[in-house]
Amino acid sequence: MKKIAVYSASLVGAFMMMTGGAMAAPSCGLSNGQKANGEPIKVGAIVGQTGPDDFSSSGDAAQAFFKCINANGGVNGRPIEFTMEDDQWNPEVAAQVGNKLVKDVGVVALVGSGSFVDMAVNAKLYADEGVMSMAGACAISDCYESSNIVTAAGGPLISSVGAAQWAVAHQGAKNIVCVTTNIPTSGIYGCSWMQKFMENKGLEASIIPLDPASADMNSAVLETIASGADTVLVNMPGGMAAAFLKVAEEQDLRDNFKWISSTPLYDADIPAALGKYWTGVLTVNAELNPIDGTGPDTTNWRAIMETYANEGDPRDTFSQAGYLAAKYFVEAVLKLDPADINRASVTKAIQAISGKTSDMMCGPYYVGLADRHLPNHANIMMQLVDGGFKQVSECTQVDTEYLAPYLAIEKEMGISN
């Protein structure tokens, strides 16, 4: 599997140059410019850094945010000691590092995790130990169906259905084929709910599951032709998707279908990787608002990454989600008595988060006490244009039955999304 979305720092830099604005000074926490020297607050994150793909950009963003916090008064004088562990996309390693952080290190919370395995493996551990994970990048269903995990990213289901919904409304799609990885809790999870969405509209849909290890994208393209669909939804990590689209280009299929994708292809490297062939043809769903936005959070996120992150750390959707997780975490713990910051008090503070709005998200971010969390269920569409993307839709609520329990929770909490 490949990186879900990576935006190059250069695009952000180019954007800043275009807008002619100097990079604003980063703002975080107390913003008093004083180094925090008190007793550290231990926070962890688990990311899938090495393995089929580097899925650590959300953790990198959280780390940058915490560096900013520590240089600006900390949490009322207490610095954040951030430990980021690599699960290597390996369930056994994920269990080991989960236990290490929660039981040995004794973190008060996990912030900015990004993984394909951590959430499935450690959801029970987090619940049993009463620790919250404010994740960044979530590609599997367990992330959205656990009491102690919450993320600002919408995930493959919301992104796939969002893309299909747009294609039906704006391109007249009547039969969508979803080409995806054969991972039940990720690719199939997203595509099967897209299929239900289409069937509920009296339309048709099918799924082509692919083994990420397969060298043969030709057959997938031939299956796509045989599917009888009028629209192709590409729901795969970026590298796989690029390989699939290359073979589709070989067969010159651009004009035979309408082409849409879930978030992984909203990636600054994709326009160059795909070439001009797909310009104006491929439209990609973005779970959060554009990375070159001018709102306060998007601007501040870029400034923090510029000042506190490594140059090579991706500036992508999941980096945005990691930033939001870290920001909301700090806002929650800043309300606590610095002498009384422990796992129980932090968990309670996180669960009390409600009604947080940001220019990065279409709706409010909240946590609450529910057995599942999915605050972000609205998104936008970005079309591939020469050398980049342009936004082609405003924030749209995703229309899927999957959201029923979440909407009931929101109703109970008095949240209007």
Binding site: S8, A213, A215, D216, S219, L222, G238, G239, M240, D269
Partner: protein
């Protein structure tokens, strides 16, 4: 448009890649007795450097030549400075050493090229002809043609030339070959260099046709090894045909829905069935004394 024709043509295109890789592996094994697990990594390194050269604006002929030299260079380095120290060890130890070499190269690539979607676009990707309703690019035709040419020429080279005979004698028994005056270092160096050059060029084609990703390209050596197993690590023609057959079966499985998601296992299923058939009534060990 005949649907079976389409899928067979598609399968041959992928099968040619398996065949090309398999033939290079058998060549080295027949000359040195080593199963080179680093074959995919050498190709991946060649492909990544070719992509990098392209990004820096290198002319395309250089982009094509670079992986050949890179593959040959690193393969020679291993063959010259590491492999001789393992010459007295069991075949499995030698194979594991190459696996270690593959992991080192992969780690190096992950360090240099952070993981991001990339595409290796060769001029030959833009030229295509129609075959049974399927557009086949010149890159795929080169892969097929090269696999066929290499299989034929290497088969003849090993069977009919003096150097080929020396390579086979070294693989059969290194000590006896040395006693008979075979210039072991020179012959093995030649085999490592040839195999490495082939690995580099295969990597370039794979990078363009499959996916330009170090890990994916590195581990494509596994299905390639499956084709060599069918050829019992000895027969170049059987390995070549096995590559094509595996590619076609894998492609045709797409038409049978229940099995379609599992078609990536085709090389291994074919290899296992072949092994079981070949080993019927015999005791299988890692060494070749069975």
């Amino acid at each position: 448009m005949n649907i079976y024709g389409l899928f067979i043509a598609s399968g041959l295109a992928v099968g040619a890649l398996y065949a090309l890789g398999g033939v290079g592996l058998v060549l080295l094994n027949r000359a040195t007795g080593i199963l080179n697990f680093a074959y995919g990594a050498l190709g991946a390194l060649g492909a990544m450097l070719a992509w990098q050269a392209m990004q820096w604006g290198a002319p395309e002929p250089l982009v094509w030549l670079l992986p050949i030299f890179v593959g040959a260079f690193f393969s020679l380095a291993f063959g010259r400075y590491i492999a001789p120290h393992l010459s007295q060890r069991e075949p499995v130890v030698k194979a594991v050493a190459t696996l270690g070499f593959a992991i080192v190269i992969l780690g190096f690539m992950n360090l240099i090229w952070i993981d991001t979607p990339r595409k290796l676009s060769l001029t030959t990707d833009t030229i295509s002809l129609n075959f049974a309703g399927l557009r086949v690019t010149l890159t795929r035709l080169i892969a097929f043609g090269l696999a066929l040419t290499v299989a034929l020429s290497m088969g003849v080279f090993l069977a009919r030339t003096r150097t080929g005979l020396m390579m086979r004698s070294i693989a059969a028994d290194r000590d006896v070959a040395a006693l008979l005056g075979t210039p072991i270092r020179r012959v093995e160096t030649l085999a490592w260099g040839l195999s490495g050059a082939l690995a580099g060029f295969t990597g370039l084609l794979f990078g363009s046709l499959v996916r330009l990703d170090p890990a994916t390209l590195t581990f494509l050596v596994i299905p390639m090894i499956a084709t060599t197993v069918v050829g019992r690590l000895q027969s170049i023609p059987i390995t070549f045909v096995a590559g094509l057959v595996i590619g076609v079966i894998e492609s045709l499985m797409t038409l049978y829905k229940p099995l379609a998601p599992f078609r990536a296992m085709t090389p291994f299923v074919v290899a296992i069935i072949t092994l079981m058939w070949l080993q019927r009534g015999r005791l299988l060990t890692f060494a070749n004394e069975d």
